[in-house]
Symmetry: C2
Amino acid sequence: MKRNVLIIGAGGVAQVVAHKAAQNNDLLGDIHIASRTVAKAEAIIESVHEKGAMKTDGVLRAHALDAMDSAAVAALIRETGSQIVINVGSAFVNMTVLEACIETGAAYIDTAIHEDPAKICETPPWYGNYEWKRRDRCREAGVTAILGAGFDPGVVNAYARLAADEYLDTVESIDIVDINAGSHGKYFATNFDPEINFREFTGTVYSWQNGGWRSNRMFEVGKEWDLPVVGKQKAYMTGHDEVHSLAANYPDADVRFWMGFGDHYINVFTVLKNLGLLSEQPVTTAEGQEVVPLKVVKAVLPDPASLAPNYTGKTCIGDFVKGTRDGQPREVFIYNVADHKEAYEEVGSQGISYTAGVPPVAAAMLIASGEWDVGTMVNVEELPPQPFLGLLNRMGLPSRIKDQDGDRPLEF
Amino acid sequence: MKRNVLIIGAGGVAQVVAHKAAQNNDLLGDIHIASRTVAKAEAIIESVHEKGAMKTDGVLRAHALDAMDSAAVAALIRETGSQIVINVGSAFVNMTVLEACIETGAAYIDTAIHEDPAKICETPPWYGNYEWKRRDRCREAGVTAILGAGFDPGVVNAYARLAADEYLDTVESIDIVDINAGSHGKYFATNFDPEINFREFTGTVYSWQNGGWRSNRMFEVGKEWDLPVVGKQKAYMTGHDEVHSLAANYPDADVRFWMGFGDHYINVFTVLKNLGLLSEQPVTTAEGQEVVPLKVVKAVLPDPASLAPNYTGKTCIGDFVKGTRDGQPREVFIYNVADHKEAYEEVGSQGISYTAGVPPVAAAMLIASGEWDVGTMVNVEELPPQPFLGLLNRMGLPSRIKDQDGDRPLEF
């Protein structure tokens, strides 16, 4: 059963999505890429053709679209006959795109939680403020909506589910650790949209501990983790999408997210934040111009997509899941290691974009095959993880497990 | 001979100028304050009345003025019958204000070199690019124009002249050292307009050494100086207005400017500069808005005037002048120490504004008395320093000298 795909967005992640969808266009169908700036979508198409990524002859087309305009999104879904929408545009457009999917019946996939431009860090569970309010309407319309199907959130949610289903009888804690041990050679850059990147870290750090929400400040709680391949790395407890859904689905477990930061990143972040330059609230210049400081910081930073050609090193992202098995304490670490250079050579994006962009294509393929076409709204841990992780093993994001029995590939 | 004064600008320095002009309005005349935002000029007037600063009854009035509009400035000079213009507005308005003075015959005083908003750090001698091109026209019109009559430039130029005239036979080097050992209690703030402050440090550091211009990068050349009152302080060679005129008037001497910076200032500055946030060149946000990053940084930083109430500590600014006397090597340090809290209590501004704002009023009084009414354009070192420094001794900025004979007040 072929399914036409509409990709929304034309950044580094969309580039990966387009390449991977093209590599699998025998299982998917026509591929359309829509962006406010159509030239960016056209550049992606050119890159797909350059790499000869289309598995079979097929449609690959660029469109100009303001994704904040739900009616325009619905019109484009209809015009292109798209049955699956992979939304990897700004996190600000999630709800307008989802509404268009509910209206047209297309399946919806995204990789990041919805954000309101005027708000930073909403009250938990964040999904409850926007996405989950539309769950009943998805069910009534029979619309499959898979939330947060990138790597983190996404694959790490599947890792948590796999650990709970296959390796543990009871789950006490899920600690997701995201380490980028790569180097882009710039003075400073963020690995994805700086606006979204910084917004993640300027608010309260929410974690789920002892059955309730706990608040910390960013960089307040740090811990060194000893990881395969990338070694010992300092990571800080960070607010992150998946904590908000895993806490709902595994309420008896502590759920925390940890992100690795070097001292240089923390210094730059601290300076910008303390000066007020990461604020999403407009300020007025002496000349009377209204400006959102964060958008100016975004404008001066390197385009994340520009980092790819010189990016070297590896990422390691995974879940430490603790609990019991047969009455004994047990811990597993399920993880992936990705390589920036290999990602660039394959799809022209760096490793962070690669890890975020491959999984939603796998999700689309599982919707196309029917395995994940559940006709309602779900977070990834609500879906069977095996077909997803099995596909990712073959699509460039192999999973491994490390536990008392050693460090080995996860096969499905 | 009374002289009506028009003050252009309504920032922290203008506040000091207004208070000091009011304290001496028996020697000056009507006082007018013009600002783009008339409310800021009105607030200064209110503060002058609160402190009871007017020595005799007289005119003190606020006006709205776009000082970039030379015709409007000339009209206001005529309307107010002003004979002396003290320009302490943005450094971008110097030439439009000077043109209005040449047109109307009013005397002109400023405290900072002219800047073109679109350029950072011009080729030396900077005065040659704008001010000195108008010297002949000032002479022909008989217009007294005193350039750079704040503290630095200004008083330090007079110190250099005094050292050369009174204490040395030959001058080998003039090192101007500016240390602010005060504390404002904020995470980060600049002591005057952040835009002008940062622009000083983002370009090439020009110094005059061995009879030629030498280029360095900011923070490339640092040196610890041992100063009276504030003690040992690290300062960095910095581009600064007075180097450009002193090099012309003392071409046989090395002329360098050194400014004290703490590690925290350097860190914040380095982050902002490396990110491109101190750029005067516009960038375009993802939303298509054209923004000058430096103006946004200015907008998020504390208003320098807001620092005054909690500012404590002292400044020390002076000239180390080396040369020979009677064939023997000799060095003198001529300097002033100012106190932030005392400045605030007297005029409602912090010490940096105080040191910059008192001298141009002294210069105005010397034009009014005729002593400095030279009918042409000059830098401060071209005028007799004694009456200027003598006035400043009595106006709150006493000078001292430290040399082989000890550390003592300079009396005139």
